[in-house]
C-alpha cells in the first residue's frame, strides 16, 4: 500500500547513495532568468552540454515589465538578466518563450495551461512555487541554482526523501470563501515551518470539489508552510483540464495516459508520516496581519495579543507588527489600504480574474487605491478579453497590465512605496517583498476586490 507520493517518487529513483540522498530523475525542468545564469556558467566552465534539452522549458518572468513590453526593458540590469537567458537558451538549444511571446507568462501559470505539466511527472524549477504543478498529481518542487545545474547536466537531482503528510478537508467551502482562503487558513494553523521536511497531499471533499485552477492555488502555497511540495491525486477534473492542451498526449496516447494516471492515488490504508484533518466549513475569508504567510486570520477576527504568543516568538511578533504599523489585539476590518495587486502564480489565472470582476461589476474602484491587475500569462490575458472582463474592469475604473510576476516580488517597476499598504493576491508578505518598506496584506481575489472598491479591508460577503 503506497501513497501517491511514494508511487511517483519510486518510479523516478535512478539510484540511492548508501546512507545518502536519492538520485531522482526529472521529467521536466522550467528555468527562469533569475536563478539560471550561474547554472549555465557552471555548465560552460565544466565544458558540458545540456543532457536532455527537450525536457527543459525556459521562460523569463520575474523581471518582465507589465507595461510597454513592446519596447526593450528600460532597467539595464533586468534587461541583462533577461538577455542572458535568451543567449543561454540559444547556445544550449533550449525552448524559450521570450518576453512578448504568446506563451510567455509566469512559469507556474504557463506550464499547466500548455499541458507541459502532467500527472505522474517529476518537475523542478529554481523557484520555490514549483509546488504549484503538484496540483496535477505530480511531484514538483523548487531547487537552488546548483541543483538547476545538476539537472541541466544530468536530468537528475540529489534529494533526501521527504516524509509524507496528508491534509484532509472535510465538508465544503462556504460561499464567498476561495481556495486561497483555504490555503492561508492551513498555513496559519500549521505555521510557516509546520510542514518542513514533508511532501503534502491535499485530500477530502473540499479538495475534490475544487476546479483545477483552485487546486493550483492550493498547491502553490504549500511552500509557505515549509513543505517540499504539495500534490492532489488526479481525477476527472484533472483529465478534463489537460485534455486538448497543446503538449498533452493526443488520440490513442491520450487514452493510454489517462488509464495510467487513474492509478495515481494513495492506496486505501496507505500510511502517511503525519495526517491532519480540517473542517472546510470552519474557513472564513482570510487576511494576513504580519510579515510571514503564517500570520493570517479570519477577516472578522482580531490580531492576536502579545500574551497569546509563546515567549520565544514575541520579539519576532512585535517586530512584525511594528513593521506593519498594526497593534496587537486590534481588528483589521475597516483599515484603509493604498494598493491592490491581483496576479502572481498564486492568483493570476482566469478564474481569479472572473471572481475579481464579478465583485467589482457595476461598482467603482476607490479613488485613492492604485490597483495593479496583472494576468499570469498572455493566454490568461487573451481569455480575459475574449470574455469581455476587460470592459467590465475598465467601467469600474481598473486597467489591465501585461503579464509577469510584477508586484509579487517587485523586481520590475511595480513596487509598493515604503509604508503603504497593499492587499495582494500573491504569496509572500515578507518585509520588503513588494518594495523596500512596503506593507503587504495577503488575501484572495474576492477580498482584494472588496478592498479595491471600498478602499479598506472589507468582508466581500458583507
Amino acid at each position: 500500500m503506497k501513497t501517491l507520493f511514494d508511487k511517483i517518487w519510486e518510479a523516478h529513483v535512478v539510484s540511492t547513495v548508501q546512507d545518502g540522498p536519492t538520485q531522482l530523475y526529472i521529467d521536466r525542468m522550467y528555468c527562469h532568468e533569475v536563478t539560471s545564469p550561474q547554472a549555465f556558467d557552471g555548465l560552460r566552465n565544466r565544458g558540458l552540454k545540456v543532457f536532455r534539452p527537450s525536457q527543459i522549458t525556459c521562460i523569463p518572468d520575474h523581471n518582465i515589465p507589465t507595461i510597454n513590453q513592446e519596447a526593450p526593458i528600460a532597467d539595464p540590469i533586468s534587461k541583462k538578466q533577461v538577455d542572458t537567458l535568451e543567449r543561454n537558451t540559444k547556445e544550449f538549444g533550449l525552448t524559450h518563450y521570450h518576453m512578448g511571446h504568446e506563451k510567455n507568462g509566469i512559469i507556474h501559470v504557463v506550464g499547466p495551461e500548455n499541458g507541459l505539466s502532467l500527472p505522474g511527472m517529476t518537475m523542478v524549477c529554481g523557484d520555490s512555487h514549483t509546488s504549484t504543478h503538484g496540483a496535477l498529481g505530480a511531484v514538483a518542487f523548487g531547487i537552488g541554482t546548483s541543483e538547476v545545474e545538476m539537472v541541466l547536466a544530468t536530468q537528475c537531482v540529489f534529494q533526501s526523501r521527504p516524509k509524507t503528510m496528508r491534509l484532509n478537508f472535510h465538508g465544503r467551502l462556504k460561499a464567498g470563501v476561495t481556495s486561497k482562503d483555504l490555503a492561508l487558513y492551513v498555513i496559519a494553523k500549521m505555521t510557516t515551518g509546520g510542514a518542513t521536511g514533508y511532501f503534502v497531499e491535499y485530500a477530502g471533499e473540499a479538495i475534490r470539489a475544487m476546479s483545477m485552477e483552485e487546486r493550483l492555488t492550493v498547491c502553490n502555497l504549500s511552500i509557505e508552510m515549509g513543505a517540499r511540495g504539495g500534490m492532489i491525486a488526479p481525477d476527472e477534473v484533472t483529465f478534463d483540464y489537460i485534455k486538448g492542451r497543446e503538449f498533452a498526449p493526443k488520440g490513442a496516447e491520450w487514452d493510454a495516459a489517462v488509464e495510467k494516471w487513474k492509478a495515481l492515488k494513495s492506496d486505501e490504508g496507505a500510511t502517511f508520516d503525519k495526517e491532519i484533518d480540517f473542517d472546510a466549513t470552519d474557513i472564513e475569508p482570510m487576511v494576513t496581519y504580519g510579515t510571514n504567510p503564517g500570520m493570517g486570520m479570519g477577516i472578522n477576527e482580531s490580531i492576536p495579543t502579545l500574551e497569546s504568543i509563546d515567549e520565544a516568538g514575541r520579539i519576532s511578533f512585535a517586530k512584525s507588527l511594528e513593521y506593519m504599523g498594526f497593534n496587537a489585539g486590534e481588528k483589521m476590518l475597516g483599515k484603509s489600504i493604498d494598493y491592490v495587486f491581483l496576479g502572481s502564480c498564486t492568483n493570476g489565472r482566469i478564474e481569479d480574474f472572473r471572481q475579481f470582476t464579478e465583485y467589482v461589476k457595476g461598482k467603482k474602484k476607490a479613488d485613492h487605491v492604485i490597483a495593479w491587475l496583472v494576468p499570469g500569462s498572455w493566454a490568461v490575458d487573451k481569455q480575459i478579453k475574449a470574455e469581455g472582463l476587460d470592459k467590465i474592469l475598465t467601467e469600474a475604473g481598473f486597467e489591465l497590465r501585461q503579464p509577469g510576476c510584477s508586484a509579487c516580488l517587485a523586481m520590475n517597476d511595480d513596487k509598493v512605496p515604503a509604508g503603504k499598504y497593499a492587499v495582494s493576491t500573491s504569496n509572500r508578505n515578507f518585509e520588503g517583498r513588494q518594495g523596500p518598506g512596503a506593507r503587504t496584506i495577503l488575501a484572495g481575489p474576492l477580498v482584494a476586490a472588496a478592498a479595491a472598491v471600498n478602499g479598506c479591508i472589507t468582508d466581500p460577503r458583507a
Partner: protein, 203 residues
C-alpha cells in the same frame, strides 16, 4: 563516492570561532538577500548585500543597531532563531552568507531548500536543540567573545562558554562531500550511463 575533486571548494573539518547572534525567528530569504539584488548573473558580491534592509537604511547608511554593524560581534558562525531560511529557493541567500564569510549557520530549525543550497555552497547548517540555542544567545549576550567549536568529523558542536556539547545530524554522503570538498554535479556526471539505462528501462 565520486572520484573527481570538486573545483574550488574549501574543505572543512573543524572550526572554532566567535559568533554573530541573530535571535530572530523565521528569517526568510527575502531578508537574507532582497529580490532587487538578484539581478546579477554571477555568484560574486552577494556578501555585501547580506541582510541589506536590516543592515543599511534608505540612504545606504549602516544601521548601528543591526548586529553586522556592531564591531563587538564577528566570526565565521552565524547563530539564528528558529526556522532560518524560509521562503524563496534563491541560492543567492547561500551565496550571500558564504560571500560574507560565514562557514556555519546554527539554528534550531532550517527551511529545506535553504539547507540544500547552503550545503551545496559548503556552508554547514547545524541544527541544535532550542535549549542549546537559547544558551548560545544567553552566553554571547553576557560575553561577545565566547566561541563555538564545530567538529564535523565527530558531528559535535560545543559551546565553549559552558562546555556543553550536542551532536548534530548530517547525512554521511554530504559529510564526505564537505570533508573532501566534492560536489554533487561531478558525482552525478560520473553516473551518466546509469541515467541512460534508467531512461531506456522506463520506456
Amino acid at each position: 563516492m565520486g572520484e573527481l575533486e570538486g573545483a574550488n571548494m574549501e574543505k572543512f573539518i573543524t572550526l572554532t570561532s566567535t559568533v554573530v547572534p541573530l535571535p530572530i525567528e523565521n528569517v526568510d530569504t527575502d531578508q537574507i538577500i532582497p529580490a532587487r539584488f538578484l539581478k546579477a548573473t554571477s555568484k560574486d558580491g552577494f556578501g555585501d548585500n547580506l541582510f541589506r534592509d536590516w543592515r543599511y537604511d534608505k540612504n545606504d547608511q549602516p544601521i548601528a543597531s543591526f548586529v553586522l554593524n556592531n564591531p563587538t560581534y564577528n566570526g565565521e558562525i552565524l547563530v539564528a532563531g528558529k526556522n532560518f531560511g524560509s521562503g524563496s529557493s534563491r541560492e543567492h541567500a547561500a551565496w550571500a552568507i558564504a560571500g560574507y564569510g560565514f562557514k556555519v549557520v546554527v539554528s534550531s530549525f532550517f527551511a529545506d531548500i535553504f539547507k540544500n543550497n547552503a550545503m551545496n555552497n559548503f556552508v554547514l547548517p547545524v541544527v541544535v536543540s532550542e535549549e542549546f540555542l537559547a544558551e548560545i544567545f544567553d552566553g554571547v549576550n553576557a560575553n561577545p567573545a565566547i566561541t563555538l567549536t564545530i567538529n564535523l568529523e565527530e558531528q559535535i558542536i560545543t559551546n565553549n562558554s559552558n562546555g556543553k556539547s550536542e551532536s548534530f545530524q548530517i547525512n554521511p554522503y554530504k559529510k564526505e562531500c564537505f570533508v573532501k570538498g566534492l560536489d554533487d554535479i561531478d558525482y552525478l556526471i560520473s553516473k551518466k550511463d546509469m541515467i541512460e539505462r534508467y531512461e531506456i528501462a522506463r520506456v
